[in-house]
Amino acid sequence: MRRTLLLLPALFLITITIVLGLGNQRSVEVKETPMRERPGFLGSPLTTLNYGDRIEVLGEQQGWTRGRFAAAGVEGWVHNSALTTKEIVVNPGTRDVERSATDTEVALAGRGFNEEVEARYREEQGIDFSAIDRIEASGVPVDEIAAFIAAGELNDPDGGEQ
């Protein structure tokens, strides 16, 4: 009897963990990021997540979060540097604005220093942004990075802490 009773606190903790786990969400805080089949940069992408997308956390491993993206019904891995525990409200209403003023766990997408402010700044300063736009478009595809790593006999970025 005593031993059985000892199991009750364990049951209590397990239930709490499961229920809280269900509500454990992360938001994508970068423009876009791939959700991958395995925890690694060179892994194949299952789908692309966009800024503000919410995923339900299923697990974590060495800097990566395994999550479920309900909107597309996909489960996969996303790097932690692309995620935040904050809620990012993509089309904020008045109540969201009020919430974000007092709650640092709420962020408003597209507000504050944004495209509109940049356009105004650009106009006032008379600075040309075309070079920046061109540089920004110069992302290197992941297969080229993988080939560069292989040819230079560099370490596997997905091989864990070195």
Binding site: M1, L5, L8, P9, L11, F12, T15, V19, L20, G23, E29, V30, K31, F41, H79, S81, A82, I88, V89, N91, P92, G93, T94, R95, D96, V97, E98, R99, S100, A101, T104, A109, R111, G112, F113, N114, E116, V117, E118, R120, Y121, R122, E124, I127, D128, F129, A131, I132, I135, S138, G139, V140, I145, F148, I149, E153, L154, N155, P157, Q162
Partner: protein, 316 residues
């Protein structure tokens, strides 16, 4: 024996099951109470858009001030817009080095190194661009665009050396040193303004006011990058990050020392470039030696690295 006595009692199983259910219900209630905020999120998202009243604005202003605001509260999205404009100021002052092969090499090397950093993903990603200048200089803008001059790249004589330069700049982005150059008063002003005009700019004055704060923030960063430089501790942090990134990637961290030794030989102490904005190379070298002490690098595939380094940057 005594255990059996309990088990034999009628109703024992019912008591245990009852207790288990009670415990689970208790846990459920407690856990759901913690989820209250999450439930609120859903209803709040559905609320109407519009500009808030003056009275609401006042209350928001008060509460926003009550919340501590710092560089960490700048969202990656806003960091990205700050970085773009800092970058635009730099491309306005410096000529870009227009050699596709050289830039492609730097960009591929830099984006590879970023994967080994503590912050592999930023809002818009990492980009690396060579500036057509003999000056010994580099600028890491918030969120990931990195500029390096021909003059600085020429201090390196191998891919490992170039990697050390780029890894140091990635370190500045990782630690958000650029954002930390913005005066706290501006961050508070900007984030309070976001709080008030969050749904849309009420008037063109609101936009003008926020743009003025934006301009001041860009000035804070470009002044630091171009004229005053980061603090000595920020540079040490970036050097340590460079060593860590290089070790993880499989580059020889001593490449950074080789570059700094060359810099020490060539830097004009009265110069307006790295001489003005960075601690003296020799003082950085001794710190880095401590950092890589005990690390034995196994040189691999130096031929392949050497070959592509020469092919891409040989004309620099």
């Amino acid at each position: 024996m005594s255990r059996n006595r309990y088990r034999d009692r009628p109703g024992y199983r019912a008591v245990i099951i009852g207790a288990a259910i009670a415990v689970m219900v208790m846990a459920l209630v407690l856990a759901c109470a913690g989820l209250g905020d999450v439930a609120d999120f859903g209803t709040a998202v559905a609320s109407q858009t519009g500009v808030i009243s003056e009275q609401q604005a006042d209350s928001v202003r008060r509460s926003a001030r009550a919340v501590e605001r710092s560089a960490e509260d700048i969202t990656p999205e806003q960091e990205y817009y700050i970085g773009r404009s800092v970058g635009a100021v730099i491309t306005d002052r410096y000529e870009l080095y227009e050699d596709e092969e050289a830039n492609r090499y730097i960009n591929t090397l830099g984006q590879t190194l970023a994967l080994f950093s503590r912050r592999p993903e930023t809002f818009g990603g990492y980009r690396f661009q060579i500036l057509d200048s003999d000056e010994i200089n580099a600028f890491a803008t918030p969120s990931g665009i990195v500029f390096v001059t021909r003059g600085l790249l020429n201090l390196a004589s191998s891919e490992d050396g170039v990697a050390s330069i780029l890894a140091h700049e990635i370190g500045h982005i990782e630690y958000q040193h650029g954002l930390q150059a913005i005066r706290t008063s501006r961050i508070t002003a900007a984030l309070t303004s976001v709080a008030i005009t969050g749904t849309q700019f009420a008037t063109s004055e609101d936009l003008a006011e926020l743009t003025a704060t934006f301009e001041d923030s860009i000035d804070d960063i470009t002044q630091t990058l171009i004229n005053s430089g980061y603090s000595r501790s920020a540079e040490r942090e970036a050097d340590r990050a460079a060593v860590r990134i290089m070790k993880r990637a499989g580059y020889d961290p001593a490449g950074l020392i080789a570059v700094l030794e060359e810099m020490d030989r060539r830097l004009d102490p009265r110069g307006l470039d790295f001489a003005a904005t960075h601690p003296a190379p020799d003082s950085r070298i001794s710190d880095i030696r401590d950092e890589i002490d005990g690390y034995s690098h196994t040189a691999r595939a130096t031929d392949a690295r050497e070959e592509r380094y020469r092919a891409a940057l040989g004309r620099l």
